[in-house]
């Protein structure tokens, strides 16, 4: 069937025939035409042609005339599938070109066929479906009722699509936005369709949206501070702080572009049509039933999320973090920095110590996982027991000795020796030494153990009177000069002190250069101070006594003021006390010494 159709609306009716006749005659003529092959075509008509063969980039068609028509292969939307015998509608461009060939156009024919329809769609702004055929520069080619239409990239969707290829081969609803008869192009827009839908949705959503609703949306854009979510015609902002009860560094940790999400409407500003969304609000607040989830005393697991100078934060679940304070990390160790014990990201066990719901604080401990060695300290190290330990540290005030893993006791410098004046403990012990000690005191609350070395022996000061007496004269070796006097060695390991004021003709500044140690001195004990454990000696008094011994024979016993009368009286007193003291005095006394 070959239909001749003049593309002129006034030609639609035959002037010379009635309707009936024209109908009849139409059929008849067609038959005739077919038979006689006598066709008369005018340029600009659409005619039917059968494909004869394909040569190179042209398709040869038979249109029922003597000469064959030629159609450029590229005009066909599907050049591969074309085969001889196919019937095509074609547009006659020229009857004869320079080579005497009839030039036909498939695309123009298609276009003309589509044209009216397209115009109608354009005027009515109605939708039409088209199939996405291929990509070209700047957009897509869409098959619209058999003709190619251009879908510019900007008109594909609401947002630039990551790949236009996802639409290839798809039927998509479109709107015709521009047609140009002369240049035979149709421009379509998918976006216009979507916009319209969106507007519809927007009006709908604006009418019904309200605070507290749950809605679905699509992640449209991700920024550092939050996520924009398309609720269907309306965008809302999901701020980072409303995404999770826990801590997140970036929204992209939780959501992906294009992801569908259920969100809660937190705020809705009708005037600005601004919507705030929440994600975490979909789950109950983690602190709501915190005490049942993490009962005090329970051992729980968590992840270290942050380490600070004073402890480590551990995430028990999203939005619930507890602090392990540095002081709760070890029973015995002095933890210098939490990072020495735990590292970020590590899974650890910890014991719940305290929960403060109002402040949203959970205190946790690591050391509570083990029994406190200090609980049993008194049983293991009773006061008075003798133990040995390793010297761990020496300070100028004492020695720290390790008794047990992480348990150190202190030997105060004054507890090293009963008699020796020790300047620095390093004179007596070295780091790493193993030494015997006695436990002298335990302060459980402050976790302190006092130790002593001297307590291993009896206190020689207890019976000091049997060793030394005041007034006794003796020879001593200088140990070393001190700031205000001399330290001298005495018997029984005792040390004595000679104040510079009791030395003959020596001033403080001359002490160090006069005495190097080892010098022998004649001294008199003038003081035994057992509460300060001090024995003081004097060179001066001994000398003065010797000198007064020289004067003595020439001095008369007197009754007045100071002097011998007093001495006599004293002798009387001593006699009264039945004290026996043999004194070796130089020069005879006027009176015989009183002896009992």
């Amino acid at each position: 069937m070959v239909k001749t159709k003049k593309l002129r609306p006034e030609d639609e009716k035959d002037e010379f025939l009635t309707e009936e006749e024209s109908q009849d005659s139409g059929e008849f003529r067609a038959l005739l035409d077919e038979y006689f092959h006598q066709k008369t075509f005018e340029e600009g008509e659409i005619i039917t042609g059968r494909v004869l063969r394909i040569s190179g980039d042209s398709v040869m068609v038979d249109v029922g005339l003597k000469s064959e028509g030629i159609v450029p292969l590229m005009e066909l939307s599907d050049p591969e599938s074309i085969k001889p015998g196919d019937v095509l509608d074609l547009y006659l461009e020229t009857m004869e070109n320079e080579e005497g060939q009839m030039v036909l156009s498939k695309s123009k024919a298609d276009f003309i066929r589509v044209w009216d329809k397209a115009k109608e769609y354009l005027d009515n702004e109605s939708q039409i479906e088209g199939k996405v055929v291929k990509r070209i520069k700047g957009g897509l080619i869409v098959d619209l009722m058999g003709v190619d239409a251009f879908l510019p990239g900007s008109q594909i969707g609401l947002r630039p699509l990551e790949t236009m290829d996802s639409l290839l081969g798809q039927f998509v609803p479109l709107k015709i936005v521009k047609i140009n008869k002369k240049r035979r192009n149709i421009v379509v827009s998918r976006r216009a369709v979507l916009d319209a839908e969106r507007d519809k949705l927007r009006t709908a959503i604006l009418a019904e949206i309200d605070k507290g609703q749950l809605r679905e949306g699509i992640v449209k854009n991700i920024t550092d501070f939050g996520v924009f979510i398309d609720l269907g015609g309306l965008d809302g902002l999901l701020h980072i702080t409303d995404m999770s009860w826990g801590r997140i560094n970036h929204p992209s940790e939780l959501v992906k572009l294009g992801e569908r999400l259920k969100v809660k409407i937190l705020e809705y500003d009708r005037e600005k049509s601004r919507v705030s969304l929440g994600l975490k609000q979909l789950t109950p607040h983690p602190w709501e039933d915190i005490e049942t989830k993490f009962p005090v005393g329970a051992t729980i697991k968590g992840k270290i999320v942050s380490i600070v100078d004073y402890g480590a934060f551990i995430e028990l679940e999203k939005g619930v973090e507890g602090l392990i304070h540095i002081s709760e990390m070890s029973w015995t160790k002095q933890v210098k920095h939490p990072s020495k014990l735990v590292s970020i990201g590590a899974e650890v066990d910890a014991v719940v110590l305290k929960i403060d719901k109002n402040e949203q604080k959970i205190s946790l401990g690591l050391r509570q996982l083990e029994p406190d060695p200090w609980d049993t300290i008194e049983q293991r190290y009773p006061i008075g027991c003798k133990v040995s330990g390793k010297v761990r540290n020496i300070t100028n005030f004492g020695v720290f000795v390790e008794l047990d893993e992480g348990i150190d006791g202190l030997i105060h410098i004054s507890d090293i020796s009963w008699t020796k004046r020790i300047k620095h403990p390093s004179e007596v012990v070295k780091k790493g030494d193993s030494i015997d000690i006695m436990v002298t005191n335990i302060d459980k609350d402050n976790r302190r153990i006092s130790l002593g070395i001297k307590q291993l022996e009896d206190d020689p000061w207890a019976d000091i009177g049997s060793k030394f007496s005041i007034g006794q004269d003796l020879k001593c070796k200088v140990n070393r000069p001190l700031e205000r006097g001399l330290l001298v060695d005495m018997d029984h390991g005792f040390e004595g002190f000679v104040p510079v004021s009791e030395l003959e003709g020596i001033t403080e500044d001359k002490l160090a250069e006069t005495f190097k140690g080892g010098e022998e001195l004649d001294l008199k004990i003038i003081e035994i101070d057992s509460s300060n454990r001090r024995i003081a000696l004097s060179q001066k008094i001994l000398k003065a006594e010797q000198e007064s011994g020289e004067i003595k024979p020439y001095l008369k016993a007197e009754q007045s003021s100071t002097g011998t009368a007093f001495g006599d009286a004293l002798n009387q007193a001593i006699k009264g006390k039945k004290e026996e003291k043999k004194e070796d005095e130089k020069g005879g006394e006027e009176k015989p010494e009183a002896t009992a």
């Binding site: 101070d529 020439y554 100071t562």
Partner: protein
């Protein structure tokens, strides 16, 4: 003939200082000046000061205004407090530095919560003052038997002799071995006696200058006699007799603690006069200087 004065005769450092202060104050002050008790145990000096307008008073309560000098023995802290409270009164403290040191030592021992034992004479003004610093439970150690506590601090009257000090110490040491001692003895007296004795041994004749009522001066004279040398105890140069020096090659001169230097100088120059007359010296003969 030679004259030699004992190296350390006469005033000790503390007394010298107090007397000097008294004279200076008398010269400077426009107000009435008194001393609390006689400044030293020497009537000549006290009289001389009186001629300068410095009176010795006994009761501190009677002074209202003017200048009051505390003598070298020091004074009870409570008395000092009362005196300082008087607005019109200026206090010049001539307490001997050695005594001040002893007072500080007493306070220090008291602060150590020790019972302070002072070895010395109960009635001596220095001891009375010292006791004021030593706390209420302090005691003066004398010939009466004492009951001392377990923790004691010990110090001495500054003029105590070493012997007595050691003896007392030995006794106290037998009672307790918790003693903190601060040696507060000033050895001026002993040193003076030593110098005197050594000089006496070298000399043919000893002249002792000082008040007859001064115990320590008498003791010096006593010592010289014991050494076996003819000894004369004089209060002033007027008592010197020419005949004493007839056979002397070396004349030793010494003086008690309360004898001012001026008096010793007068005595020395008078001796020189007397002996020069006796010897009828050749003209132009140079007089030997006193050392």
């Amino acid at each position: 003939m030679k004259i030699e004065v004992a190296k350390r005769a006469g005033f000790c450092f503390g007394v010298k200082r107090a007397v000097k202060l008294a004279y200076e104050t008398a010269a400077k002050s426009r107000q009435a000046v008194c001393t609390l008790g006689p400044i030293i145990h020497n009537p000549q000096v006290v009289k001389d000061l009186e001629s300068w307008g410095v009176k010795a008073i006994e009761k501190p309560s009677r002074v209202k205004n003017g200048v009051l000098i505390i003598r070298s023995h020091g004074v009870h802290p409570r008395v000092l407090q009362q005196l300082r409270a008087k607005k019109g009164l200026t206090i010049i403290d001539a307490t001997c530095p050695f005594v001040t040191k002893a007072q500080k030592a007493a306070a220090c021992l008291r602060d150590e919560k020790r019972q302070v034992i002072i070895i010395g004479e109960k009635e001596h003004p220095e001891v009375i003052a010292l006791k004021g610093y030593a706390g209420r439970d302090s005691m003066v150690f004398n010939h009466k038997s004492v009951k001392v506590g377990p923790r004691i601090g010990v110090l001495a009257q500054t003029t105590l002799s070493t012997d007595d000090f050691v003896k007392a110490l030995k006794y106290l040491g037998s009672k307790t071995n918790d003693i903190h001692l601060i040696n507060t003895i000033c050895r001026a007296t002993q040193v003076r006696q030593q110098d005197t004795m050594q000089l006496a041994k070298r000399s043919d004749l000893m002249i002792v200058v000082g008040g007859r009522n001064s115990a320590n001066t008498s003791r010096l004279a006593e010592m010289c006699r014991k050494v076996g040398k003819p000894t004369y105890h004089v209060e002033t140069e007027d008592e010197l007799k020419a005949r004493w020096f007839s056979k002397a090659g070396l004349v030793g001169v010494t003086a008690g603690a309360s004898t001012p230097d001026a008096l010793v100088r007068k005595v020395v120059s008078r001796i020189r006069d007397i002996t020069a007359k006796k010897e009828k010296p050749v003209k132009g003969l140079k007089v030997q200087k006193v050392q």
